[in-house]
Symmetry: C2
Subunit: 205 residues, 2 copies
């Protein structure tokens, strides 16, 4: 992949996460990526829409590397991994000073009703995210109550985090996200079998 392409994608990602897709013009992207003109841009992307799709994919890959990867760490207890993942979401948000939200939630709210192409792709992103959590919960099932519904719980976790990020942006207060993250951990802990927490550090016995 050429340098220029990633340069354009990076600039577009920043702009889109700041102002949304609709309010980001191709000219803005050109300026952000320091291109000479429109023909230069359209040499790499056939339309603004396609640029948007690629930006979304890259955002997810970045999130998969820096966030979701934690869910798969093999040496850590699954439920602890889930807590670490929640911490990572908080950390990612605080990197932007709590201002920029989850790129998926933003695009979802902006385009889910208006643009079917984006809606489908965002749905796929959430599904991949949810499936990571589901398999973690499956791995942790010996520690969980029998009636835990992994599909529902994974959706709840994502919804709570997305809602929290949104409220954090509106209030411009990172502590909103921190509080909700802490409560979310408690909600997850609610599903843990009594005494399972004691089982955890098996290495100590």
């Amino acid at each position: 992949m050429s340098d220029r392409r990633t340069q354009i994608l990076d600039a577009a990602a920043t702009l889109i996460s700041e102002r949304g897709f609709t309010s980001t013009s191709v000219d803005d992207v050109i300026k952000g990526a320091k291109l000479s003109g429109k023909s230069h841009f359209y040499h790499y992307f056939k339309s603004k829409e396609e640029l948007g799709y690629e930006v979304l994919n890259r955002q997810f890959e970045r999130f998969a590397e820096r966030g979701l990867a934690i869910l798969r760490e093999p040496m850590i207890d699954p439920l602890e991994r889930l807590n670490l993942f929640i911490d990572a979401v908080v950390a990612l948000q605080s990197e932007s000073g709590g201002r920029r939200g989850s790129p998926f939630g933003n695009l979802a709210a902006e385009l889910a009703d208006a643009h079917e192409g984006f809606r489908v792709r965002i749905e796929a992103v959430f599904e991949r995210w949810a499936s990571q959590i589901r398999s973690l919960l499956w791995e942790a099932r010996p520690q969980l109550h029998d009636d835990v519904d992994a599909v529902r719980l994974s959706r709840f976790i994502i919804a709570a985090l997305e809602g929290a990020v949104l409220m954090t942006r509106v209030k411009r207060d990172l502590s909103v996200l921190e509080g909700i993250a802490a409560d979310l951990k408690r909600f997850i802990a609610m599903h843990v079998r009594d005494g399972a927490a004691m089982q955890l550090p098996r290495h100590f016995e």
Copy 2:
């Protein structure tokens, strides 16, 4: 308030909740409200921005009447009222077939970073909403654990509901919201004192 004005506001509310504020043009609103021309519109509103503010206010008033009012019903146990309120949010969402989201969440995601005027007004909406829940929790405090943090819990409830509405729109599946609503009730029930007067149903359907 003149008929025309409310006619315009209603048309604008529908369009904005369907396509967002930025993607709704004044011409669209004029067409939707069956006005004769732009001068007719600008006779009632000095700008599109001001129209947006008034639409937001009306959406909140509508939500206050049809949703938040439940939180203040004097004859019902406070914690049961909270459950009924959550049911009402689900019902409001299903009215639009699960497609249109919370008007506040939509505008928040679209404009929180880009438009300070809207951000402040949306923040006020969430604050009024949160304060209603806070005073309900205060009323219910004899039934709650001593360490319940009403500020945090109220934020959690709102974030979970907003996130749930967002995911429901993306997946086009109302059962997402229903599941999260049920889980949210369980989370709230977690804060209830053992043996408190009001016993909350634990749904595990």
